[in-house]
């Protein structure tokens, strides 16, 4: 598959990049203190923080991956949105933001330091910083590969040019630059993808036409006819859906542990809310993000479903490239749909949206990295008590350093096929238990620093043991699991099922060990020190002065109600 761009497409790309850098230059004179650079001076309006909160998560791998899953699994992919994101976003806004924002912590690790102790913060800061630069490198690699395959652009040029642009605008405008570009990216994705969905649906005969074609897809793979167009009905057993997951693993693993672990504790997204201009804006940030989030399946999953429907119909003349081992390369679903439906002009806009999401994904990682590096590692362990100007300088230097490591990681990923799987492994290992620590930290004042730290370690160990003892069906390498036993204790139907259950085990182990160790150790923080950090010791945020549509609790209820309706519509 090769896309031929015209001058009009390049014109649109150039306009976009000019604005991206222009925003950086325009913001430069407002970066006076480290707080301006790392926290946007806590001055971002709620709607801007909300859209950035959403986009920071919506990297291009996410877009392409969701399109691919839409083709592979159908509408059930929307579980990643409707139960895998929305409830957690409502929870972080209503219940957790008061502690993050109210504690005046400048980062998630810093909250851990205030709530627990130095070692818990150090552990979180160092693993998080490492993971962000690695993720950014992986994004860069994925972008280089995609542009090489689609447009014939040189891998090295893509990597270095994108790195230079990101360095440029973050160096100049800090977190605000990143947030503003995420908002631009949000609009680009929405405006770039609506025509694809519209034209695609029109082409296949609307939703009914799509459902009819997907019935063929489902039955040809020996599933029940509605498997691709009904999200819940085929989840009772892992054998009856192509995801290979059942309802408990889905609801507990994805809907609870993984999603709450990500949306409630990952500084990459939480940083956007921390930059909001008031407590009420910070609490509304994830709730505002939830509205577009619940509609995103129609933008990113439906194109994948249309793609697989077209592939099943020989008369459509549409096909997806092979993945090299006889199967279909589902990751090409989104790019192929762009190429199939968009004429030059809109095609440039669609590609611009994809590139924007790659770049803002990287930029999001880099801004989270430079903050955690500067405040939680550099200021805490390497050079405390320097002037604010020094830390501002360090933030800019860390931006350069972070990007340099990302570029190195991109080349590493290009060199070693396995490295992305290994990194995924490390990420899930570290992330899976985290939510237990925050849950206990925020809602149980008795949880201690030792409890938190060793609880996290136990969670990671439980994850490793689970991984060592089980494998997904068809796995061939140790990276996928089963390295602890000659015959695995359990064979999952899919990697997805394995990861959901690994998360459940890690979370449970962390929860149990944190409770046990906390009860066995002395409290090191007094009630006074925990005021503002723990639920029972913090005065509830008051929303009385706000109109109803700005009250977080009302917004939360509305979000959950609409999500419920969506689930029922596509049941």
């Amino acid at each position: 598959m090769h896309i031929q761009l015209g001058f009009i497409d390049y014109a649109i790309l150039i306009i976009y990049f000019a604005f991206v850098l222009g925003i950086g230059f325009a913001l430069r004179r407002f970066m006076r203190t480290s707080s301006d650079f790392f926290l946007s001076g806590r001055s971002i309006p709620a709607w801007v923080a909300g859209l950035a909160f959403l986009s920071a998560n919506l990297g291009a791998q996410e877009v392409i991956g969701m399109g691919a899953s839409g083709a592979k699994y159908g509408i059930a992919t929307s579980h990643f949105y409707w139960i895998g994101a929305i409830p957690a976003m409502v929870f972080v806004g209503i219940f957790m933001m008061p502690f993050y924002y109210g504690s005046k912590a400048r980062s998630v690790p810093e909250y851990l330091k205030l709530r627990f102790d130095e070692k818990t913060r150090g552990f979180n800061a160092i693993t998080f910083a490492g993971m962000t630069v690695m993720s950014s490198g992986i994004s860069m690699y994925a972008m280089g590969r995609l542009l090489e395959a689609l447009l014939g652009w040189d891998f090295n040029v893509s990597v270095w040019v994108s790195a230079a642009i990101i360095v440029g605008y973050i160096y100049l405008g800090g977190l605000t630059s990143a947030i503003y570009n995420e908002v631009l990216q949000f609009f680009l994705i929405v405006l770039g993808f609506i025509p694809v969905v519209f034209l695609g649906l029109k082409d296949v005969g609307g939703w009914d036409g799509l459902t009819a074609k997907l019935t063929t897809v489902a039955t040809s793979q020996h599933y029940a006819p509605g498997t691709w167009s009904q999200s819940w009905q085929h989840m009772t057993s892992s054998a009856s859906n192509p995801m290979g997951v059942e309802i408990f693993g889905l609801a507990m693993g994805l809907g609870f542990v993984l999603s709450f672990g990500y949306w409630c504790t990952d500084f990459l997204v939480v940083q956007r809310a921390m930059a909001a201009d008031s407590m009420s804006a910070a609490r509304r940030t994830p709730l505002i993000a939830a509205f577009p989030k619940m509609l995103f399946p129609f933008l990113v999953i439906v194109p994948g479903m249309i793609a697989v429907a077209l592939v099943s119909d020989p008369a459509s003349g549409f096909s997806l490239p092979s993945d090299g081992s006889g199967g279909i390369d589902y990751n090409q679903a989104i790019p192929a749909m762009l190429q199939h439906y968009l004429p030059n002009g809109l095609l440039g806009l669609g590609l611009c949206a994809l590139m924007a999401s790659f770049m803002s994904g990287m930029a999001g990682n880099v801004t989270a990295f430079n903050t955690v590096w500067t405040y939680d590692i550099y200021q805490s362990y390497i050079a405390p008590k320097k002037s604010d100007a020094h830390y501002l300088w360090m933030g800019r230097a860390a931006t350069l350093g972070g990007i340099a490591i990302s570029v190195a990681a991109a080349y590493l990923a290009k060199q070693f096929n396995n490295i992305m799987d290994v990194l995924q492994l490390v990420f899930s290992l570290v992330n899976a238990p985290l939510f237990a620590t925050f849950l206990l930290g925020m809602f149980w004042k008795r949880a201690t620093g030792h409890g938190a730290f060793f609880g996290l370690l136990s969670g990671a160990i439980a994850w490793l043991i689970h991984h060592g003892l089980t494998i997904p069906a068809g796995a061939t390498t140790w990276v996928k699991g089963g390295w602890l036993a000659s015959t695995p204790v359990h064979i999952y139907r899919s990697e997805m099922a394995q990861s959901f259950w690994a998360a459940i085990f890690a979370f449970t182990a962390c929860l149990a060990m944190t409770i046990a160790i906390s009860l066995a150790t002395k409290r090191t923080k007094t009630d006074d020190e925990l005021t503002g950090l723990v639920y029972s010791l913090t005065s509830k945020p008051r929303d009385e002065g706000l109109p109803w549509w700005q009250k977080p609790s009302y917004l939360g209820v509305v979000v959950l109600a609409i999500t419920l309706v969506l689930n029922l519509l596509f049941f």
């Binding site: 604005f19 407002f30 605000t176 609009f187 034209l199 809109l346 806009l349």
Partner: protein, 65 residues
């Protein structure tokens, strides 16, 4: 933060929308699914989004100090 994001969003999408719409008129490209000029129609819609952002920016400006 000094710069109101609505201004660059408004400018960028007005510009992109206008470019697409003009291109749609100059080089009519029928989309295979619809038989209509999507560059023109969608370009006009994007121009509209940009215009709305500019209007929001204009009326949301903080009074000059």
């Amino acid at each position: 933060m000094g710069l109101d994001i609505r201004l660059p969003i408004g400018l960028m999408f007005s510009l992109i929308g206008a470019v697409l719409a003009v291109y749609g008129v100059a080089v009519p490209q029928k989309s295979q699914a619809l038989g209509i000029n999507v560059n023109l129609i969608w370009g006009a819609c994007i121009l509209g989004v940009g215009g709305l952002m500019l209007i929001a920016w204009w009326f949301g400006r903080r009074p000059a100090k």
